[in-house]
């Protein structure tokens, strides 16, 4: 098992605090004043160079938000958030806007190097054509750089920051923005609609198979800032796109807020594969600090035989509140959700999915693996529903939880609602700890307890890891081992 060996070595090389992305990049930033009011919304809108309709859209959302209350139904506990004590806009200070990578602040580039993002894409220079990934990097509130734009353009794929899309492709944005996650969807989505600062926009034209993996790295750097990014991906008829998302944040004692909205739209016969490796700072071993991750992710299979697949590896964040969902509207459409949620220390995870079967012969599959260790609480919360007209709907759900240590909790809260006689739903869930027999077997063959645990955990999550693109699968495997470091014995 070379991968496992690598994992173990990786774990050894990690310092006590375990989180390797905890550094702070010292750069000049341009910030909006603290707090939130209509002026701040206008300020953000002006900074982003929004057209008039966008400003109005934001203000409308903000006014709605003022009337809404924070949801409390999730199994997470945290002190009340003072929304007036946050910075809603922070951008690396720049002169005229980088035209090329050379003009980007070297400190930021250094950051990305530390994060292991191949931002400079040396493959182009070397002429290597394999495993190319186009990257859009979002630093605090703004998109810093998007690579491979030209090559994508040749294929007809639009991949840019959302603020650029609002300016350059207003028709597409207006048509689809907020059509999957309405402005008033929930407290955090509405907040995001008012103050979102950046994010990625992808449009794949009909019949195009996106020539490379698209990827976004999100980074919260500034103190006391909230990050509110918005991603909109549209796969037109018969197209295919695979999108990766990675997140990190520095180690700070204060909690940081991250409230993103991701909207996916798949038209007839289109397929979107969305993978996330979420590694926000989870707080220290005492539960101090960490990112509050309140994310609304939803995909809409609007056309016939469309397919949306979510794959997520959740290892970071002090609190995760996230339910990537699929609305299976088109006949024959398919939704998939593969998830690994690892929690350690005092992390709290409340995550799952919704599969809403509206069209005929729609199918969905949910594989969720929760691993809790330390003092963490890990909840799977999911909904599978078939509406009256969803004849022939089919769902299979499997959610397994693994407990490491006796101070943590693992919970499963599935909702299964069928209103159609021909819908077939199957759900199974198990909770257990790592079997002593398996551990003994591995240890007897010379593995240490930690190595044995890593091996068994990797086996436990194998089904989901297989769904990740290659580049991420290796990273994810390492991450899981690191997250669980110190939980054994």
């Amino acid at each position: 098992m070379p991968a496992v060996q690598e994992t173990v070595e990786q774990v050894r090389s990690i310092d006590v605090d375990q989180y390797k992305y905890g550094f702070i990049t010292d750069i000049e930033v341009d910030k909006a004043p603290k707090g939130l009011n209509e002026d701040i919304v206008r300020f953000i809108s002006a900074r982003k160079g929004d057209p008039e309709w966008m400003t109005e859209w934001r203000l409308d959302a903000f006014r709605r938000w003022l009337t809404m209350q924070e949801p409390t139904w999730a199994r997470v506990e945290y002190p009340p958030i003072d929304f007036q004590d946050l910075y809603y806009y922070a951008a690396p200070k720049k002169k005229a806007g980088p035209q090329s990578l050379d003009e980007v602040d070297p400190a930021i580039l250094e950051t990305y190097k530390k994060l292991g993002i191949p931002l400079r894409e040396q493959e182009i220079l070397a002429g290597v054509q394999t495993s190319k990934v186009a990257v859009d990097a979002v630093f605090d509130s703004v998109s810093v750089v998007t690579t491979f734009k030209e090559e994508l353009k040749k294929a007809g794929v639009i991949f840019c920051s959302i603020s650029e899309a609002i300016r350059e492709h207003p028709d597409l944005v207006r048509q689809y923005l907020g059509s999957v996650v309405p402005v008033t969807d929930n407290f955090y989505a509405t907040l995001n609609s008012a103050v979102f600062t950046d994010g990625s926009f992808v449009y794949v034209p009909p019949g195009v198979r996106c020539p490379m993996e698209l990827s976004t790295y999100f980074r919260i750097n500034e103190k006391n800032t909230g990050q509110f990014e918005r991603t909109l991906i549209i796969a037109d008829k018969g197209s295919y796109v695979s999108y990766l998302e990675g997140c990190t944040a520095p180690q700070r004692d204060e909690n940081q807020l991250h409230a993103a909205v991701v909207e996916l739209i798949a038209l007839d016969d289109a397929e979107i594969k969305y993978s996330t490796v979420q590694n926000w700072y989870p707080g220290d071993s005492e539960g101090k600090g960490g990112v509050y991750n309140f994310v609304t992710k939803r995909g809409d299979c609007r056309g016939k035989n469309a397919k949306i697949s979510w794959t997520q590896v959740e290892t970071g964040s002090a609190i995760t509140w996230k339910y990537p969902s699929c609305i299976l509207r088109g006949d024959g459409s398919r939704g998939e959700f593969y998830s690994i949620a690892v929690s350690n220390g005092y992390q709290q995870v409340d995550s799952g999915t919704k599969m809403i079967h509206l069209g005929k012969n729609t199918t969905s599959r949910i594989i969720s693996k929760g691993i809790s260790a330390g003092f963490s609480q890990n909840t799977y919360r999911g909904l599978v529903s078939a509406h009256r007209k969803a004849s022939g709907a089919r769902n299979f759900t499997n959610c397994d939880s693994l407990l490491i240590g006796d101070k943590c909790g693992a919970h499963t809260v599935p909702y299964i609602e069928s209103k159609n006689a021909s819908a077939i739903f199957e759900h199974e869930a198990t909770t257990s700890k790592i079997s002593e027999d398996q551990l003994f077997y591995c240890q007897q063959r010379g593995l240490s307890e930690e190595e044995a645990t890593a091996l068994i955990v990797n086996g436990f999550v194998k089904d989901v890891l297989q769904q990740l693109p290659m580049e991420f699968a290796v990273e994810a495997q390492k991450l899981i081992s690191i997250s669980l470091e110190g939980s054994v014995g």
């Binding site: 139904w73 009256r388 939880s401 407990l403 101070k407 919970h411 909702y415 209103k419 909770t431």
Partner: protein, 437 residues
């Protein structure tokens, strides 16, 4: 989420007015009653925003709260006497008619040795020693349970002495009469002492098509090493609203089995709260619901593993025809330190009608690591291949369906160990299936 305090519905107002009006007549327990009433006044009728009642919106479906049933007249009692009870002759029976315990219809003198039976109203009124245990096993923050605690008029307290082994089941009949919709709030407390073993069978009987409203609580408190089988048969004539709570508190080394069959009422909500107070106990909760038309049946259970080394099993089967709605909500809680817990829960549903609905919510809430817990939930149609197999062997389609459904429900029915009772239940299932042909 904003705590919305909605306008009071007609039914809520009627229920709130009912308590002050009848308070003086209700036997004993004045203070707990007032507390329960206050709790209900605060919560109101449960609605879909109350998580435990998500799929049964009582606030919307209970338009009117029926007035309290009058004590049955001699003529009514005479009529009840002539009717055949489902479990007649299987064991000594006690009858609660229209909310009142009826000694004249009960085999009080035929009670086996070691069994003590007293009326609940009398016991509460006189401060009987056993009355102190009322409310011990059914404890939950629930508006329907609170209503019962506030308004219970009568019922039975049964005590089975240590070491008593009952061969024949004890039967408790809940009978409703009259053609006007009336409400009854009744309660049964079963105290099983150490090492005792018995079967308790309850039946709910009533006239056809009358919208009676029943709120029943059955509490079971056991000492160590007790074995209790519980069976609940809902065989009223249809049309009733039947809200029931089963509260169970088990000592160490106990075995508790329950089976509930629902075919008749318009709306049922059967909630079960089980608490393990001693180690090495086993619980098996089972049920079947056969529904058609616009019937609605909700089974909600909470099994709380508060101590280590206990085992729980749940198996529920729903057959839904027409526009019927089935609800299953099961929650297994494993508290910290409740190591070596073994919990398995299964809910299966067959949807026969195109407009039938099944809502499943099997939950696990686990705070200990050395446990084995699992749940499964399925819903779908009858397997076409199996149907074809049977039809190819000459069975007409309806018969083939009936055979498959019988087997489907039968899996849960098998958990009833008392043969005489199981035969009766099988008869009820067969009758329902025959009526479909």
């Amino acid at each position: 989420m904003a705590q919305v305090t909605p306008m009071r519905t007609a039914a809520e107002t009627q229920l709130l007015d009912l308590f002050p009006a009848v308070k003086a007549r209700l036997p004993g327990a004045a203070e707990p009653r007032q507390q329960a009433y206050d709790a209900f006044a605060k919560a109101g009728l449960p609605h879909r925003r109350v998580e435990a009642w998500k799929y049964t919106d009582l606030r919307a479906s209970l338009r009117e709260a029926a007035p309290l049933a009058d004590a049955p007249s001699a003529a009514v009692l005479g009529e009840v006497r002539t009717k055949a009870a489902p479990f007649a002759g299987l064991g000594p029976a006690l009858a609660i008619v229209d909310g009142m315990f009826e000694p004249s219809l009960s085999d009080l003198h035929g009670m086996p040795a070691g069994v003590q039976a007293v009326g609940l109203a009398g016991a509460l009124g006189t401060g009987h020693a056993l009355a102190a245990q009322v409310g011990q096993a059914a404890q939950a923050d629930d508006a329907v349970l609170a209503l019962n605690a506030a308004l219970m008029t009568d019922g039975v307290i049964l005590r089975v002495a240590a070491g008593t082994q009952l061969e024949r089941p004890l039967v408790v009949r809940f009978v409703r009469t009259g053609s006007q919709a009336r409400a009854a709030f009744t309660r049964v407390l079963l105290v099983v002492e150490e090492g005792a073993s018995l079967t308790l069978a309850e039946t709910h009987e009533g006239p056809a098509g009358v919208g009676h409203q029943d709120n029943t609580v059955v509490e079971v408190i056991t000492g160590d090493k007790a074995t209790v089988q519980h069976v609940r048969l809902n065989a009223d004539g249809g049309g009733a609203v039947d809200l029931s709570t089963l509260g169970v508190k088990l000592g160490a080394d106990c075995a508790f089995t329950s089976f509930a069959l629902v075919t008749a009422p318009a709306l049922t909500r059967h909630q079960i709260f089980v608490t393990f107070a001693g180690e090495n106990s086993r619980v098996s909760l089972n049920g079947g619901a056969l529904l058609k038309g616009r019937q609605h049946a909700d089974t909600t259970l909470v099994v709380n593993h508060a101590v280590p080394h206990c085992e729980s099993r749940e198996l529920y089967k729903h057959v839904l025809d027409g526009e019927a709605t089935g609800v299953f909500q099961g929650k297994i809680i494993v508290e910290p330190h409740a190591q070596k817990t073994d919990g398995q829960m299964m809910s299966q549903a067959v949807l026969l009608g195109d407009n039938a609905t099944m809502n499943n919510k099997p939950e696990l809430e686990i705070f200990a690591d050395d446990v084995v817990c699992a749940h499964g939930a399925t819903c779908g149609q009858l397997d076409d291949d199996l149907l074809f197999y049977l039809r190819a062997r000459g069975l007409p389609k309806p018969d083939a369906e009936a055979l498959m459904l019988q087997a489907f429900v039968g899996e849960a029915l098998e958990k009833v160990e008392d043969e005489s009772i199981r035969d009766v239940l099988e008869g009820v299932v067969e009758a329902w299936l025959r009526a479909r042909l």
